[in-house]
């Protein structure tokens, strides 16, 4: 209601505010379309843009970008010795060569890409399905939205520990499976199932988070479009493809990019549930980088792994932007 009022106000010619042709153009004018020369107008525009952007850009530069550049610089150095008694010397791309020629690291790279190729579309498809479901007129849908959202509010360490107990060989999940007549699964103790189990935990935590953004996006779609589609004879499924999905392009891009980043930097479940095992089957790039930096205290190599990870993310995100690009200028 309020929004309509505002639009009415803005749309109508307001009294007391001089129109461009008014002889009283000088009094109380902030910035009208053709008041002063174009150069003054352009400078104002840039100043305004700078003012709007500066605090955020400055914060991000200072707190994220510049420290990261420091980390990048450290990847070009190597230490002789360890800790405080080590001497750092410039070594060019030595760290990258060392890591990328290590078969264990190569396997980690491949595994990370595989993990993300599977989990990202999976989580987003599920989040979208649930978002669609919980934007229909179902009773207590606010409650169900909160229910799906709750897992992402629980500290990840706590969730991981809880799932670690649940997925035990003699734990409740296997208990339920056996109750349903299915065989008990090794889950986290099997090299073939451990990664899938981690995906399960990560999805239980993440889906609710993305669902919220997609719910907002779905709510944003005007009813008229659906009415028009149903007049055209489209059923629920068709209108999903022809109305919902195209209109969800912008929020979907956000969810896709954000989910990709979230899954690439995920490492707490691996650390708590499997320590990268069994047999390295759950060792992902981020976990490897974390371990090198914080467990082995090898910050240069850890930073190298992180830079490689960030570069991969950048490439993938760039592709995602291209795919879901808008033709809006």
């Amino acid at each position: 209601m309020e929004a309509v009022q505002v639009i009415d106000e803005v749309g109508a010619p307001a009294k007391g505010v001089p129109t461009p042709a008014s002889p009283r153009a000088t009094r109380g004018v902030r910035d009208t379309a053709t008041a002063r020369g174009p150069r003054r107008r352009a400078r104002r525009a840039w100043l305004t843009a700078a003012a709007f952007l500066a605090p955020a850009v400055l914060t991000i530069l200072l707190i994220r970008i510049i420290p990261f550049l420091g980390a990048v610089v450290s990847t070009l150095h190597v230490r002789d010795g360890v800790g405080l008694l080590a001497e750092e010397r410039f070594a060019g791309l030595q760290n990258y060569v060392d890591l990328l020629s290590d078969p264990l690291f190569q396997a980690t790279l491949g595994r990370t890409l595989l993990f993300n190729v599977i989990i990202n579309p999976l989580q987003i498809a599920l989040a979208l399905a649930i978002a669609v479901l919980l934007t229909r007129r179902v009773p207590a849908r606010g409650l169900w939205r909160m229910a799906v959202f709750i897992p992402c509010t629980i500290p990840l360490v706590g969730s991981s520990i809880a799932w670690g107990v649940a997925l035990r060989a003699d734990g409740p999940i296997n208990g339920i499976l056996e109750f349903l007549g299915l065989p008990a699964q090794p889950f986290l103790s099997s090299p073939s199932q451990a990664l899938a189990s981690i995906m399960l935990v990560a999805s239980w935590v993440g889906i609710g988070y993305w669902m919220i953004f997609l719910v907002a996006g779905i709510n944003d779609i005007p009813d008229e479009l659906y009415e028009a589609a149903s007049l055209d004879g489209a059923g629920g499924w068709r209108s999903f493809w022809s109305v919902t999905l195209p209109m969800l392009r912008r929020p979907l891009l956000f969810v896709l990019v954000a989910d990709t980043v979230a899954n690439f930097v995920l490492f707490v479940p691996m650390q708590m549930l499997t320590d990268g095992g069994p047999q390295n089957s759950t060792t992902m790039l981020m976990f490897d980088a974390y371990r090198r930096t914080y467990t082995y205290s090898q910050p240069n190599q850890g930073a190298t792994a992180t830079v490689i990870l960030t570069v991969i993310m950048l490439i993938i995100v760039f592709v995602q932007f291209r795919l879901l690009k808008e033709d809006r200028g």
């Binding site: 840039w46 510049i66 520990i161 060989a169 103790s189 467990t295």
Partner: protein, 440 residues
């Protein structure tokens, strides 16, 4: 270049300048000096202490209060850090060279690694002649390369707990708390028997599955050594016959269902207390928890490898001083009070919650309620006295300990989950050799 973009570049430049200025000012405290000693009179000082003991829930506040009463001119600012995160915090703070914290908890097996990194002040001179009141093996664990790097405030050992009700039901004679030890191989059979006819879900469980601290005794007892060898102690040595045999045995425990897969170290105590486990090899800290047991229990000497020598885990926490600390004298007085003074202030004011490294403190510990109020408790006291005296085997003393513990731990985990022991150990050896390159 547009105005907006130019403005951004200015900001970037300014920020970089600020950052660099900040980074440049960090080495203001100069290089650490070793020339100091414990004074006769207390200095007036304020020291920061970083520890892993909760101030309220684990009574560390009371310990600090008692110290400040005994040494009123020294002000202690105790800061608690979750023990899983101790290393990240120390990495951040010590490398800033500001001298903060002055004192910190040091896990004894990491002493060589920390001293190699320059994180510890050399305490040999300052504590010369003061260490007689400590159990000698604990002082050894705090030493490396002929020097003392930290002062032990705690020790540890293991006990073979058993559920007497289950053993009685299965007709098993419990192993004794003195005299002859059961062998690991026998223990596995007894465990299986308890599962078959004693109502046990679990035959044999260890307190910290897949951890080097817990499992080291098995290959050591089997004659395979501690896992590291060489003059520089930087040569992996866990693919020999003793290790492969020991790990084959360990893997078979899980494969044959005597030990449960997937139970993490955090869950084992509660699992034993649930009453369905026959045998449980766990540390001395389990004894007070057994006061809550709802079943009859006993304690026995640790198992030994058939034909081998007895071996038990040992070592625990100690206190170290930051080489850049500005208050080394006060820090040393604090450590002296905590570890050496009388029964050791740390143990005394926490009701001897941990196995003391202080000899007098050990006596008080073993006279506590947990060890005197039940048959099992008395047996445990006997076992602890025996094991700390005769069978304790320190962990591998190597500067590369952190990588070693991490990599071998993963190999243990893989073996428990069904991997071939020889292959898993060989893979670990390759990985460790790689990780240790930085030390050579």
């Amino acid at each position: 270049m547009t105005r907006a973009a130019f403005g951004k570049f200015l900001a970037l430049g300014a920020a970089t300048a600020v950052m660099l200025a900040g980074c440049a000012s960090d080495s203001s405290t100069g290089s650490p000096s070793d020339d100091w000693s414990i004074p006769d009179e207390d200095p007036t000082a304020k020291i920061n202490v970083v520890g892993i003991i909760d101030p309220v829930a684990e009574s560390m506040d009371e310990v600090i209060a008692a110290f400040e009463e005994a040494h009123p001119t020294i002000d202690v600012n105790y800061q608690y850090v979750p023990f899983d995160d101790l290393n990240s915090v120390l990495d951040t703070r010590i490398t800033s060279k500001s001298g903060d914290p002055d004192v910190f908890w040091v896990d004894q097996p990491r002493v060589p690694a920390l001293s190699a990194r320059g994180y510890l002040a050399d305490l040999t001179a300052a504590f010369d002649g003061r260490l007689d009141g400590l159990v000698p093996a604990t002082v050894e664990s705090s030493s490396y390369d002929g020097k003392l790097w930290s002062v032990p405030i705690a020790n540890s050992t293991q006990v073979l707990f058993y559920n007497k009700d289950i053993l009685d039901a299965a007709g098993i004679t419990p192993p004794g708390s003195s005299g002859e030890r059961v062998t690991w191989q026998e223990l596995k059979e007894l465990g299986a028997q308890a599962q078959a006819s004693g109502g046990a879900d679990i035959g044999l469980m260890v307190g910290q599955p897949n951890r080097y601290y817990q499992l080291e005794p098995i290959p050591v007892s089997a004659g395979g050594g501690v896992g590291v060898t060489g003059d520089d102690m930087l040569t992996p040595d866990f693919t020999n016959g003793g290790w492969v045999d020991a790990m084959t045995y360990y893997g078979s425990l899980f494969e044959d269902g005597v030990s449960p897969k997937g139970i993490t170290p955090e869950q084992t105590d509660a699992t034993f207390l649930a009453g369905k486990t026959a045998f449980f090899v766990e540390g001395n800290w389990m004894v007070p928890k057994m006061l809550d047991a709802t079943f009859n229990w006993g304690a026995a000497l640790n198992p030994v490898w058939d034909g081998g020598d007895p071996a038990t885990p040992t070592g625990s926490w100690s206190l170290g001083i930051n080489p850049f600390s500005q208050n080394k004298e006060a820090a040393a007085i604090f450590i002296d009070w905590m570890a050496i003074d009388g029964e050791g202030g740390y143990g005394k004011h926490r009701a001897f919650a941990e196995l003391p490294a202080n000899v007098q403190g050990l006596e008080s510990y073993l006279a506590g309620e947990a060890f005197t109020s039940s048959e099992g408790g008395k047996q445990a006291a006997e076992v602890i006295a025996e094991e700390t005296e005769t069978s304790a085997v320190p962990r591998a003393s190597t500067v590369g300990y952190i990588e070693f513990e991490e990599i071998i731990g993963r190999a243990f985990s893989d073996i428990a989950n069904g991997a071939d022991p020889a292959e898993a150990l060989a893979a670990a050896e390759t990985e460790l050799t790689n990780a240790w390159k930085q030390y050579k």
